[in-house]
C-alpha cells in the first residue's frame, strides 16, 4: 500500500544529496515499517490457500473462538516533540480480513498529516483462536506545543460502526532523546537563532495568475530567499495539489541564484521548483505548503564581532532549519456550457493532423492511422479522439505516445494516437473525418477540428498472405440493442375465452359429416349384401320367366316345322332339346340345384318331398323321358306328338309353379 505520502517522501529523498542522520533514520523507520507490512502481506498471500482450507475446516470452531471486533487508536510515542513525527495508528481487530470502510478521522487540525493512510493487515491462529487486525497508520507532525485530545475515530465493518477511545497526546518543545541526535548534527539551536533565521531565510510560492479557467495552465514557482549560506536543502514535504494535473518543469542541476532586495535587505534568490498546473476541477483550490529542510551555516551572534571572529570557527556552525511556504489559493472557473460532443477536456490551442500510412492497401494487412495533436495546453490529459471506421475494419486500441516540452513557460508538445486497422474486405472505403474539440482560451470558445475524409482503396490480399484469418474472425451481425419485438398490428380473429375448435358447433357438425357418409355407405353395403345373399330366391322368382322364354323358342321351332313342312329331323331334335332344357332349367332354379346334379328320378323325388301331386310328377317324368327318346329317334315323331309335348310342358310348368309357390 504505497501511498501518495510515500511517493512524496521518495521524491524528497531523491533530490537530497545528503541527508541528516535523523531524517535518514526516520525514513529508514518508515521503509522498515512498509517492508514489514509488505512482507507480512506476502506471507499472508501465500498462506491464503492454506488458510482457505483451514477456514473451511475450522469454520465452526473458528466462529466459536473468534473474538469480538474492536477498534483502537494508538500513537508510537507520547509525549512527542514539536516538528517531530509520530505515527498514529488505528487498529481494527477481529473484523475479518476485508478490513473496514468509511474510516472517519478525528479532527487533526493541530497536526500535519505527513503521509497516510497506509494499511497493513495481519492474522494469527493460535490454538484455533483466530485474531486478525487491519491497521491504518498516519504519520503526523504536531504544529504547536500543548496537550491535544485526539477524539474518537470511527470505522464501519460488517455492517457495524466501531469507534475508538479518545486519548490525549502531549506535544512538548523538544523531546529529550532527540537532543543528543541534534548535538551530533551541530550545536543546539536556541530560540534566538531560530528567530534570526526566520528573518533571513524563507520560501515563497507564487503563481502567475490566481483566477483561471478549468484546464488552463498556471505556473507555480517556489523561490528560496536567503541571506545565510545554505549548504544543502532537501525537500521534506511536497505540496499537495489536489484538483490539479501537474507537470514539473525540468530544473537545471545547478540552481541559478539571483539577488533581490526586500525591505532594504538583499537576498539571494534561487528557484527551487517550477511546476505547471492544470486544474481538473472548478472551485477554489488550494496548493498545500511545501516544506524543505535546509542545512545552513550560522555564526554565533557574539562572534560577529570582527575581533573575535578570528578566534572562532571560521566556517560557523551548521544547523538544520525547516523552511515552509504559505499555501496558495487559486480560484478556478468552470468551462462554459455548450461543449461539443467530441470535447474531452482539452484546453489550450491545438492543431490536429490525421493520416494513414498508405492509401492503397490489401485485405488483412495491418495499416496505421496516426492522429497527431500539437499545441500548447493540457496535452498530457488528452484522450484519444473517436475514429469512426467502416464496419468491416478491425480496430485495436490506439498506441499513445507524447512528447512534452516542459522547458518553456507554457507546456507544449504533441500527442500521437496510432490506430492499427486491419481491413477485412476489399473495396473503396472511407474513414470519416476525425473530430477533436478543445477550448480555446484566447477566443474563449470551443473549437472543433476536423480532419478531411480519408479514402482507402482496399484490394483483395493474397489468400496465403494472412493465414491467421480464419472463419472464426467472421463477424456475427451485431445486435445494436436488445429490445422486445413490436406488437402485432394485423387484425386477429378473436375467439371466446375457453372456447376451442373441437367444442364449436361447426366442428362437431363437420365431425358428423364423415360419420354420416360412413353410415350411408354401411347401409348401402348391407343392402347389396342382402341382395347378393338371396340368389336362391332370385332364381326361384326368375324360374318361370326363363322356362317361358325356353318354351317360346320351342313354340317357334314347332311352328316352323308345322308351316314349313320340311319335317327335317334336325329342327325336331332342336325342339325337344329346347323343351328339355327349359324344363331342367326351371327345375334347377326352383329346387335350387345345379342342372347337372339331377336325374329324372332325383327331380321327381325332390318334387314329391315338396308335396307336388303324383299326377304332375308322373307327367313330368313321362315328358322328360319322351324328350330324351325323341333325341335318339327324331324321325318317328309326328307333328301332333310334338304339339302334345309342348302343351304338356306348358301345363306341367304352370302346375309346378302353382304348387311350389304355395
Amino acid at each position: 500500500m504505497v501511498t501518495s505520502g510515500f511517493t512524496q517522501s521518495l521524491r524528497g529523498t531523491s533530490c537530497a544529496t545528503k541527508q541528516s542522520p535523523s531524517l535518514r533514520k526516520r525514513l529508514f523507520r518508515f521503509f522498515e515499517s512498509q517492508y514489514r507490512a509488505e512482507s507480512r502481506k506476502a506471507v499472508l498471500r501465500s498462506a491464503r490457500n492454506d488458510m482457505f482450507v483451514i477456514t473451511l475446516v475450522l469454520l465452526f470452531t473458528v466462529s466459536a473462538f473468534a473474538q469480538d471486533p474492536s477498534f483502537q487508536a494508538s500513537v508510537d510515542k507520547n509525549p512527542v516533540a514539536v516538528d517531530d513525527r509520530f505515527t498514529l495508528s488505528f487498529a481494527l481487530n477481529n473484523a475479518g480480513m476485508g478490513g473496514g470502510k468509511n474510516l472517519k478521522l478525528p479532527n487533526l487540525d493541530k497536526f500535519r498529516i505527513m503521509m497516510g493512510p497506509s494499511t497493513s493487515s495481519s492474522m494469527q491462529i493460535i490454538n484455533g483462536a483466530v485474531s486478525s487486525s487491519v491497521t491504518y497508520s498516519y504519520v503526523l507532525q504536531p504544529k504547536e506545543v500543548g496537550k491535544f485530545t485526539i477524539s474518537a475515530a470511527s470505522i464501519e465493518a460488517d455492517g457495524k460502526t466501531y469507534t475508538s477511545k479518545p486519548f490525549t497526546i502531549e506535544v512538548i518543545k523538544r523531546s529529550p532523546q532527540q537532543k543528543p541526535q541534534k548535538a551530533q548534527q551541530g550545536l543546539s539551536v536556541n530560540a534566538g537563532v531560530q528567530e534570526q533565521l526566520s528573518n533571513n531565510i524563507f520560501l515563497r510560492a507564487s503563481v502567475d495568475k490566481s483566477r483561471l479557467m478549468q484546464g488552463e495552465q498556471v505556473n507555480l514557482v517556489y523561490k528560496l530567499y536567503t541571506r545565510v549560506s545554505v549548504q544543502n536543502y532537501n525537500l521534506t514535504k511536497a505540496p499537495t495539489m489536489t484538483g490539479f494535473w501537474s507537470e514539473d518543469a525540468d530544473m537545471p542541476k545547478q540552481i541559478q541564484l539571483s539577488s533581490e532586495t526586500i525591505n532594504g535587505k538583499q537576498f539571494q534568490v534561487g528557484v527551487i521548483k517550477r511546476t505547471a498546473l492544470f486544474p481538473t476541477q472548478s472551485g477554489t483550490l488550494e496548493i498545500g505548503p511545501m516544506e524543505i529542510t535546509t542545512l545552513v551555516t550560522v555564526r554565533d551572534r557574539r562572534t560577529w564581532d570582527p575581533f573575535d571572529s578570528f578566534f572562532n570557527d571560521p566556517f560557523g556552525r551548521q544547523i538544520e532549519y525547516v523552511v515552509k511556504s504559505e499555501p496558495v489559493r487559486i480560484k478556478v472557473d468552470p468551462l462554459p456550457a455548450g461543449a461539443p460532443s467530441s470535447f474531452k477536456g482539452a484546453v489550450g490551442k491545438f492543431t490536429m493532423n490525421a493520416k494513414v500510412d498508405r492509401q492503397n492497401t490489401k485485405t488483412n494487412e495491418p495499416m496505421s492511422l496516426k492522429v497527431t495533436i500539437n499545441g500548447t495546453g493540457n496535452i498530457k490529459v488528452l484522450e484519444s479522439p473517436a475514429v469512426e471506421l467502416p464496419t468491416d475494419f478491425e480496430q485495436y486500441t490506439p498506441k499513445v505516445s507524447d512528447n512534452i516540452n516542459r522547458r518553456e513557460a507554457k507546456v507544449s508538445g504533441s500527442k500521437t494516437f496510432e490506430y492499427i486497422l486491419i481491413p477485412r474486405y476489399p473495396g473503396k472505403k472511407t474513414i470519416k473525418p476525425v473530430e477533436f474539440s478543445y477550448f480555446d482560451l484566447e477566443k474563449s470558445q470551443y473549437i472543433t477540428l476536423k480532419s478531411s475524409e480519408i479514402e482507402l482503396n482496399v484490394e483483395q490480399g493474397a489468400a496465403g498472405a494472412a493465414p491467421f484469418v480464419s472463419s472464426n474472425l467472421r463477424e456475427d451481425v451485431q445486435l445494436l440493442s436488445q429490445d422486445i419485438r413490436f406488437i402485432k398490428v394485423a387484425r386477429p380473429s378473436f375467439t371466446r375465452q375457453g372456447e376451442y375448435l373441437h367444442t364449436s358447433g361447426m366442428f362437431i357438425a363437420m365431425m358428423l359429416l364423415p360419420l354420416a357418409g360412413l353410415a350411408g355407405a354401411f347401409v348401402y353395403a348391407c343392402q347389396r349384401q342382402a341382395v347378393m345373399s338371396d340368389i336362391v330366391g332370385y332364381r326361384n322368382r326368375q324360374a318361370i320367366k326363363v322356362a317361358k322364354r325356353g318354351l317360346k323358342n320351342a313354340e317357334v321351332l314347332l311352328n316352323q316345322v308345322a308351316s314349313g313342312n320340311d319335317g327335317s329331323s334336325e329342327k325336331k331334335i332342336r325342339f325337344y332339346s329346347e323343351v328339355a332344357k327349359s324344363m331342367w332349367k326351371y327345375l334347377g332354379d326352383k329346387l335350387n340345384i345345379q342342372q347337372a346334379d339331377i336325374s329324372i328320378d332325383g327331380a321327381v323325388n325332390a318334387l314329391t318331398t315338396r308335396s307336388v301331386n303324383e299326377e304332375t310328377s308322373t307327367a313330368l317324368k313321362s315328358l322328360l323321358e319322351s324328350c330324351e327318346m325323341a333325341r335318339f329317334a327324331p324321325t318317328s315323331l309326328s307333328l301332333d306328338t310334338m304339339k302334345t309335348t309342348y302343351d304338356d310342358a306348358s301345363k306341367i310348368i304352370v302346375d309346378l309353379e302353382r304348387t311350389l309357390k304355395a
Binding site: 422486445i484 402485432k488 375448435l501 364423415p514
Partner: protein, 251 residues
C-alpha cells in the same frame, strides 16, 4: 353455456359501447401503444380481455405493453398465455426470452427424462387448433378408407383401402394423444407466474410458519396443491413451498 354467453354479451356491450367490435378496439389499443402510451394500451387490451374474447396476438400485445410500462412479471404472464395459443410465434418466443432475462431470481431447472423434453417440444410446437385440424383430417381419411374397404369392387382395391386405413388409424391415435396432451396443457391451471414484486414462500400454508425462500416477480411456479388462500408451489429447480394465492396469477 348459453346463459354464460348471454352474460358475456351483455358485458361486451357494456364495456365496448363506444367501439363496435373487439377487433376495432384492438386497433385503438395498438394506436395507444404506437404513441408510447403504454399504460393506456394496457388498460385497453385488458378491457378487450374482460369482454371475454381471447387471442394470441391480444396477449402478446398486452405483454408488450406491460413490458414497456415496466411490469415484467405481468408481461411474462401474458406472453405465457399467448404461448398457449400461438406456440410457434418467433416474436413471442423472443420477447418472452428477453422478459425472462429481466427477472431477479435465477432458477436452474432440474434435469428431466429426455422423453419429457421430447413430449414438451412436441406439444409446445403445435397449437391446439392445428392438432384439432390434423386429427380431423386423419379422421376423415380413416372414414374414407373404411368406406372404400366396404364398397371397393375388387379385392386388391379393398386391400389397399384397408392398409391405408390402418396407417391413418395409427396416425390418428398418435394425433389424439397429442391432442389430449395439448388440451391438458391449454386447460391446465397448475402453472402460475408470481406477479407480486416480492413474496415470501412459507413452509406451510400459514402466515406464521417459517420462511422457506423468497421469490421475486416473474418467476414461473407449478401449483401442486391448494389450501384456502394458499397454494403449494414447486419451482423448476424442485424447491417446494406455500405462498399466498394472490401473489401469483395462473397462466
Amino acid at each position: 353455456m348459453m346463459k354464460r354467453f348471454s352474460i358475456l354479451t351483455v358485458f361486451l356491450v357494456a364495456t365496448l359501447a363506444f367501439a363496435e367490435t373487439p377487433e376495432q378496439y384492438f386497433d385503438l389499443a395498438n394506436q395507444a401503444y404506437q404513441q408510447s402510451k403504454f399504460a393506456e394500451a394496457v388498460q385497453k387490451y385488458e378491457q378487450i380481455l374482460q369482454s371475454g374474447v381471447a387471442g394470441g396476438e391480444l396477449y402478446f400485445n398486452l405483454g408488450n405493453a406491460y413490458y414497456k410500462s415496466g411490469n415484467v412479471s405481468k408481461a411474462i404472464l401474458n406472453y405465457e398465455r399467448a404461448l398457449k395459443l400461438m406456440p410457434n410465434d418467433d416474436d413471442l418466443r423472443h420477447n418472452l426470452q428477453l422478459a425472462n432475462l429481466m427477472i431477479t431470481d435465477k432458477i436452474e431447472p432440474t434435469p428431466r427424462l429426455f422423453l419429457w423434453d421430447w413430449w414438451d417440444s412436441i406439444t409446445s410446437s403445435v397449437s391446439l387448433r392445428t392438432v384439432t385440424w390434423l386429427c380431423y383430417c386423419l379422421f376423415v381419411l380413416v372414414i374414407g378408407a373404411i368406406i372404400l374397404a366396404m364398397l371397393a369392387p375388387s379385392y386388391a382395391k379393398r386391400r389397399i383401402a384397408f392398409v391405408g386405413g390402418l396407417a391413418c388409424t395409427m396416425l390418428l391415435i398418435v394425433g389424439l394423444v397429442v391432442f389430449i396432451g395439448k388440451l391438458h396443457q391449454v386447460n391446465t391451471t397448475d402453472t402460475a407466474i408470481v406477479t407480486a414484486n416480492i413474496t415470501t414462500v412459507k413452509n406451510s400454508p400459514d402466515a406464521k410458519s417459517s420462511d422457506a425462500f423468497v421469490l421475486h416477480g416473474g418467476v414461473k411456479v407449478f401449483i401442486t396443491d391448494k389450501v384456502n388462500d394458499w397454494i403449494k408451489i414447486r419451482l423448476a429447480d424442485g424447491k417446494v413451498g406455500w405462498m399466498e394465492q394472490k401473489a401469483a396469477e395462473i397462466i
